[in-house]
């Protein structure tokens, strides 16, 4: 059984081309069904077809039909262990734009579940899902934030631990501030207040987060009531001065300033119990964590290679399984025929003893050749051994 892969990804194809071959999950499932035993993995960064056949021509044609042109060198074609290794790297997030991103594992699962797969694709996709999970469990590749907004939330968690119950003041209704607030909310924080120059905009955003709208001028009065401040206005002047920040006695105050020019007086950072991070600080943290992800990726690659080797052994063993099954069937056939010759000449007890003894002889005789063939299959000699066994025992007609 041959595993084949044809596809294109962000590494080789520009977005203008990728968007033409991108399919939603229903269309992916339909294409996979049309190709037979196949899985179609289609995301914004890749469209790949995994097939349980060595003939990938129909899959190439299908992709070219979607693209509306020949795909030539843009398309990659991989087979067997190389295709499995690629899938494992994809599931582990190692082939992603941001190494270790977690979304891809869910997309691989969805593609697998949407397709109707035979034993080969079933095995390789189940293993790929296991690899993705293992890499995320055994390495720290997916732990660190990959964007400014997630870095802001991760830093807040570094100060407070669990963010459940922590109160956030969102200043300004800009998109980046909203993203940071959404990240904090996803970690359990409460968006308590939204302050904006236009109160109507503040009110509409506050309603979405379940908080209250306040006027920009009232910021100082609400600082004692919050743990995190996220600011992203377009104000040319600072909206909060150090002198407006009340002393923190019991709990720290974490301030995130995503605005350019900056909204929050840098002197706030010097206050006891106050931590102020601006856009440059957050970007430096993201750059550092991405470097960390790349370092972890080396460990993840080792795990993926180990799993690819396991798949290769499993697939290689498939080559000799029919030969082993034929050999055992032929031996059993001979044993049964010889036992039939003594029917009526021996008692029932003697018959049972004969059956047991001949079965044991057969098992002992075939055990070592079976083990050796499986071992040879893991190396490069599996097919040769299988052919030799078929020839020596006259199993050719059963191929």
């Amino acid at each position: 059984m041959t595993l084949s892969l044809v596809g294109l990804s962000h590494h080789v194809a520009p977005v203008e081309l990728r968007e033409r071959v991108t399919l939603d999950i229903e269309a992916s499932a339909a294409l996979a069904a049309a190709l037979g035993d196949a899985v179609c993995l289609s995301t914004c960064n890749r469209t790949e077809l995994y097939l349980a056949t060595g003939d990938a021509a129909p899959a190439v044609k299908a992709l070219e039909a979607l693209a509306g042109r020949g795909l030539g060198t843009v398309l990659y074609r991989l087979h067997d262990d190389a295709a499995a290794l690629h899938l494992f790297r994809v599931a582990a997030g190692l082939d992603s734009l941001v190494p270790g991103e977690g979304e891809i594992l869910g997309q691989v699962r969805a593609a697998y579940e949407a397709a109707s797969t035979g034993p080969l694709l079933d095995r390789v996709f189940r293993q790929a899902l296991g690899v993705g999970k293992r890499v995320r469990t055994e390495t720290a590749i997916g732990e660190s934030p990959a964007s400014v907004s997630s870095a802001a939330a991760a830093l807040a968690a570094q100060v407070f631990g669990d963010l459940a119950g922590r109160r956030v003041l969102l200043v300004g209704a800009g998109r980046s501030g909203e993203l940071a607030a959404a990240n904090l909310a996803s970690r359990g924080a409460t968006i308590a207040y939204v302050a904006n120059r236009t109160v109507e905009t503040a009110r509409s955003l506050a309603e979405r987060f379940g908080g209250s709208a306040i006027a920009l001028g009232d910021l100082g009065a609400h600082l004692t009531d919050v743990d995190v401040v996220v600011s992203s206005t377009s104000s040319p002047e600072p909206v909060l001065l150090a002198s407006d920040v009340p002393a923190r006695r019991r709990s720290p105050l974490f301030l995130i300033d995503i605005a350019v020019p900056r909204d929050l007086d840098p002197a706030i950072h010097q206050l006891d119990g106050c931590f102020l991070y601006d856009i440059d600080d957050l970007e430096a943290v993201v750059a550092e964590t991405l470097a960390g992800r790349r370092a972890e990726a080396a460990r993840a690659e080792e795990l993926v290679a180990e799993e690819a080797e396991r798949f290769r052994s499993w697939q290689a063993a498939l080559d000799v399984v029919p030969a082993i099954a034929s050999l055992r069937a032929r031996a059993e056939e001979i044993r049964s025929a010889e036992l039939a010759k003594v029917d009526g000449r021996v008692s029932d007890d003697e018959r049972r003893t004969l059956e047991s003894v001949t079965a044991q002889i057969l098992n002992k005789l075939l055990h070592l050749p079976t083990v050796r063939m499986k071992e040879a299959a893991i190396g490069a000699d599996g097919a040769a051994y299988a052919d030799a066994v078929r020839h020596l025992f006259g199993l050719e007609e059963e191929r």
């Binding site: 570094q158 720290p252 006891d272 550092e288």
Partner: protein
């Protein structure tokens, strides 16, 4: 028998002390702490079985018990993946102090106890347990100040270091002190009872321990927050060090 238990314990502690230096070898360090502590527990059990009384009445013996208590407290409060740097702060001194205890004869079996009554045994055991707790609290406070310093410096690698959150360090340091203070209180009461029985006078160590009790008592009552709490815990630990290292000899004598 004690030899066969001392070496596995010191090797495991030593392994942990080195393995905590890297995040990759940190899980092996945690196993070193666990196995070392089990070996030391067995060592203490053998010492207890072969002694005719309290086997850790000497300065070196009490150091052996103190190390066991500190590592035990670390196992309960701090032995987690995110506390690697706490392990790095605790395990090297623990391994060194354990060696010092051995050089001083504190890990031998069959020693004769200097202590004649239960009050004295309780006094020493409880005070040492409290001091072990204060030591761990100081390590947590030190880690707090270091992490706060990095946050104030806006160190870009702050998330890569996988440190415990500031709030967790503060909470754990407070809890450790809150648990240790009653032990110190009971230990002091036992010591006072014994002092009255022997009609002895208060020495410098006893006065210093009373001062330590006052300081940590004030800490629990006032419950300072943030870096003030950390400085408070470290200040108390200075008194513990003086009590353990500088004055203990005269008290044991």
């Amino acid at each position: 028998m004690v030899e066969a238990l001392f070496w596995p314990a010191i090797l495991a502690y030593g392994e942990a002390a080195f393995a905590y230096a890297s995040a990759r070898t940190s899980p092996a360090a945690t196993w070193g702490v666990r196995l070392g502590w089990l070996a030391q527990t067995a060592l203490l059990a053998v010492q207890a079985a072969r002694s005719d009384g309290f086997p850790w009445s000497s300065w070196a013996g009490s150091l052996n018990l103190f190390v066991w208590l500190v590592v035990g407290a670390y196992l309960i409060w701090g032995c987690r993946p995110r506390f690697r740097l706490l392990g790095l702060a605790v395990m090297p001194p623990a391994a060194i102090l354990f060696l010092v205890a051995r050089v001083g004869g504190g890990t031998h079996a069959g020693v004769r106890s200097h202590y004649g009554n239960l009050f004295l045994v309780l006094h020493v055991g409880l005070v040492l347990a409290a001091f072990a707790g204060f030591t761990l609290a100081a390590a947590l406070a030190g880690l707090y100040l270091w992490e706060e310093h990095r946050l104030k410096r806006r160190a870009a690698d702050i998330l890569r270091l996988r440190l415990p959150p500031l709030a967790m360090l503060e909470r754990l340091a407070f809890r450790t002190i809150a648990v240790s203070l009653p032990l110190l209180t009971l230990g002091l009461i036992a010591g006072i009872v014994r002092l009255r029985e022997d009609r002895g006078s208060v020495d410098a160590l006893e006065a210093l321990t009373a001062l330590t009790w006052l300081l940590y008592g004030g800490f629990v009552v006032a419950r300072p927050a943030g870096n003030r709490a950390a400085y408070f815990a470290l200040g108390g630990f200075v008194l513990v060090i003086v009590a353990r290292l500088a004055l203990a000899g005269s008290h044991f004598a």
